[in-house]
Amino acid sequence: MKKFVDDPAQFVRDMEEGIYLANQDALKWIPEFNIIVRADLPEDKVLIMQGSGSGHEPAHVMAVGPGMLDAACPGAVFAAPPMDYVLECTRLLRNPKGILHLINNYQGDRMAWDMAKEMAEAEDPDLAIGVVIINDDVAVQDSLYTVGRRGVAGNFFVIKAVGAASDEGKSLEELVALGEKVNGWTRSMGIALTSCTPPAKGTPIFEIGEDEIEVGVGIHGEPGRRRDKIRPATEIMDEVFEAVCTDLPFQAGDRVAVMINGLGGTPISELYLLYGLAAKKCAEHGLVIAKNYVGNYCTSLEMAGFSLTLSKLDEEIEGYLNAPASIPIRVF
């Protein structure tokens, strides 16, 4: 293993310290529970939190800020947060308007969040907690860590929409309905060129040959649809696009947001090359691209690869995607 790391067991803590030190005016950090929370926590809106494992940055610790998440409490790399992290984060956000739990569909996450919700409600019977489960990955029906589809990069659209809607003062019920609508209209699939190495593990999570790709890979390296040989980018995009597009299915005339998400180790040049191919596929299918996103949104450490996400828009969702937001990642 060759990484910039001191004590591998402290990797998440040390990463969060860096995020905090770079954003001390905007964020607070509670190392004991891996919590990153807005320093200017609003008092007059539903507050939104997400957990998941670490190793997917910028999801979710770097997605905390006005118009996005109000707090995140990730677990260790590729591991769901323990129940007490979720409970502590929920306590921190306790407010009369309610709290929205965004959960990617993995067994460990669902168990921890479900328990924390019951525990928080037991402590404070007046506390309202809403839940949106995200499961946008079309690659496989069930996988190593899930019953049902996995939640991957599409969760960005759910966060962005409910984040903006909560700023507008929407109720917890309205946010749950909106989150479910966005999730229901969002589909993703990923391709891996290489594996990746969690610092505390020290070895790659799976083996893949020099000339091989994993079609439909999960964001923890879980197997997808099949192992294949590397092919020209156009052929790979054809397969991924068809899998994603036919699943909803998206139909000619639909306005969509298109995301080419990097899995961590693929240069932005290749991501834009892929975007160009995706844009042409959209035109072929009569899809109207209203918004595009190219970059690292939900990664698997240093894995080379990408995922394609299509999200169907209506006037309401498009408005929320265009609303202002601010998170720790910035270019200027």
């Binding site: 323990p82 007490d84 168990m111 328990m115 019951e118 525990m119 037991a122 402590e123």
Partner: protein
């Protein structure tokens, strides 16, 4: 029928802790037959924290104490045992909120809620050869005692402990359908389930401790 006092309820938790700590190696050995040999160690790790933090836990009511125990167990017990045992104490903690004594009907209600919660959490059903089967046998016995209007709570606990204890032999011939043991399928026939053994041993120890 007399009620279970808070001091007795605390003794119940203390006794469960003692059993978990005293049987760390034994429960792990049981798990090694068909599982990954970590059950005893995981359970002891959680109850050890309960033991260490005992004085600092919230003793204002039975419910408050059980909720504190639930948090300590969930946070410190590895694998699936954390959510399962944590849910046992959380659901009973919620049911006994603010109470400083418990009638048999309330105890039954709390334990039924715990069984339902554990089923929801882990997706197991009765008959899947998990600790739920021992818990259910225990509660069924308590329900029988409630119906017969027997006037001794301790007698009811004795009978319930026997029912939970007997489940280890009853279930021995079953196929494990949940948890790590289920991966071995038919091979799990003829083996003991460590969770069922743990509940039976704890129930026996509780009944004996309350007699003293």
């Amino acid at each position: 029928m007399e009620k279970l006092t808070q001091a007795q309820a605390e003794l119940v938790v203390k006794t469960m802790t003692d059993v978990a700590l005293a049987n760390e190696a034994y429960f792990s050995d049981l798990d090694a037959v068909m599982g990954d040999a970590d059950f005893g160690r995981s359970l002891a790790a959680g109850f050890r924290v309960v033991d260490e933090k005992w004085e600092t836990l919230d003793h204002s009511s039975i419910g408050a104490l059980l909720l504190n125990v639930s948090q300590a167990l969930t946070a410190n017990t590895g694998g699936c045992s954390g959510p399962v045992w944590g849910t046992l104490f959380m659901r009973t903690g919620i049911a006994f909120r603010g109470k400083t004594e418990l009638g048999l009907d309330e105890i039954i209600e709390g334990l039924r809620s715990a069984i339902e919660g554990i089923m929801k959490r882990g997706g197991a059903s009765l008959g899947d050869k998990t600790l739920l089967d021992a818990l259910d046998a225990l509660v069924c016995s308590l329900e029988d005692s409630l119906k017969t209007d027997d006037h001794s709570l301790l007698d009811a606990f004795d009978r319930a402990a026997d029912a939970a204890y007997e489940m280890r032999e009853t279930s021995k011939g079953w196929v494990a359908k949940r948890g790590r043991q289920s991966f071995t399928g038919e091979r799990s026939i003829g083996t003991y389930d460590p969770g069922i053994i743990a509940i039976g041993d704890m129930a026996k120890a509780i009944a004996a401790a309350l007699r003293q």
